[in-house]
Symmetry: C2
DNA sequence: CTTGACAGGTGTACATCGTACACCTAGGCT
DNA sequence: AGCCTAGGTGTACGATGTACACCTGTCAAG
């Protein structure tokens, strides 16, 4: 008689893991209920026994990643601790490109998400920052707390036209948008590929902000008027 | 004989205006091809004669708003000009709440969008900022260039539980997330509603960043090592 | 040992969405 | 007069999220 290898029963963690794996492989758009179910060899509706709805699914995916943050818990306090946490977040963000759009379109907030914010805020407070200054800092850091800089410049969608066309486009750009063109050219002299070093920009801004707040604190800034 | 009042033929601008009006009234999710078509008393497929696809539609909606920026063209140069542009963007952003998610999920970049970035970058350059410093500034300002601060704290989804439950939740929050709770309480002492003054935070961070860059420039910073 | 509740997987069905494709029709040109 | 074409129509398809009824194996209580 044929013995079916019995499938271990699903649980929330396995569902989320499958969704994360799928997103890593094929992007966030590929994460549909049906696709995740197929990944697990199960019918779509089975997922709803472990997940409220699609929104809960991607919320759970985010949580899964956040819980994997490699954060040196016994790290130095204050700004350095903040830096460590944010860099840990960024590492994970780079590993999972779908994470950014996922967080950006998020609606509900989970305990895991709040806990991460609490840890960052706590590091400021532990370093003697006033509550209000910490508040400002959290706002200023914004999404950087999740490891990404919300760029004004997005990746160009990789439309490599013929070299001749490219020349014409460049000329048009240079006359119509001289400033961004100047920046692009300057960046290209520094980086053969012409792409910005996003990682360097991230650190630059992070340091700029952390320094600015350290300066305010040192100057005795406590709270807004 | 019955004389049908002849409908003026559609054009791209009318389609976009209808979509913007609909989004203003009912949110971005309500903007489907079918809904916009209905708004115009036309069949869904008619829109495709004026718009490539849905992505082009929302791109066009964004352009429509950007083109309406009330930017004092003969404004002071430099940081003040940047401030003016960004504040103009923010005004429009507050008028159209759908704008933020629309921009965030954007994929293609339109000339109108590039022109706005070019104007901001140009203001820095005109003020004597080096190209590279301008580049950094654009990255640091990130989405703030579009008028929004990408907050770590999002609006709570307005779940007002019973006062008793609220009390219990607060107590739990205070022990589990002491830092964010401290911030929330502190903010509440300053603002009866307990909500952050997002507008004030926006200005605070904008000033912080612009000051930081002004300081770098004054110190003779020209380009990264 | 029986029974029955319940956790968990199944199957069908539906509304909504974007959009491909073929079609029709009214104006304006040659 | 004849035709081209811009612009609106109609039908249809595949994908998606998810409601609802159903089945089934496990395990604890009687």
């Amino acid at each position: 008689m044929v013995v079916e290898t019995k499938r271990a029963p699903l649980d929330r963690a396995r569902v989320l893991a499958a969704a994360v794996a799928l997103a890593d492989r094929s992007g966030l758009d590929a994460v549909s209920m049906r696709a995740v179910a197929a990944e697990l060899g199960v019918v779509p509706m089975a997922l709803y026994k472990h997940v409220d709805d699609k929104d809960d699914l991607v919320g759970g995916m985010i949580d899964t990643v956040i819980e994997g943050y490699d954060v040196p818990d016994a790290a130095p306090a204050g700004a350095d601790q903040v830096r460590a946490r944010i860099r840990a977040a960024r590492t994970e963000l780079l590993r999972h490109p779908w994470l950014r759009p996922a967080i950006e379109t998020r609606s509900r907030r989970t305990p895991t998400v709040i806990a991460h914010m609490d840890a960052v805020a706590g590091a400021f407070l532990a370093d003697g920052y006033s509550v209000d200054l910490t508040h400002h800092a959290m706002h200023a850091l914004g999404h950087r707390i999740w490891g990404f800089s919300p760029e004004a410049f997005e990746e160009p969608p990789a439309t490599p036209p013929s070299p001749a066309e490219q020349e014409a486009i460049m000329r048009m750009m240079a006359t119509r948008y001289p400033s961004v063109t100047a920046i692009a050219i300057d960046a290209a002299t520094r980086n053969a590929s012409g792409a910005c070093d996003d990682d360097a920009e991230f650190d630059f801004t992070l340091d700029l902000l952390l320094d600015a707040f350290a300066r305010l604190r040192a100057a005795g800034w406590v709270s807004r008027a």
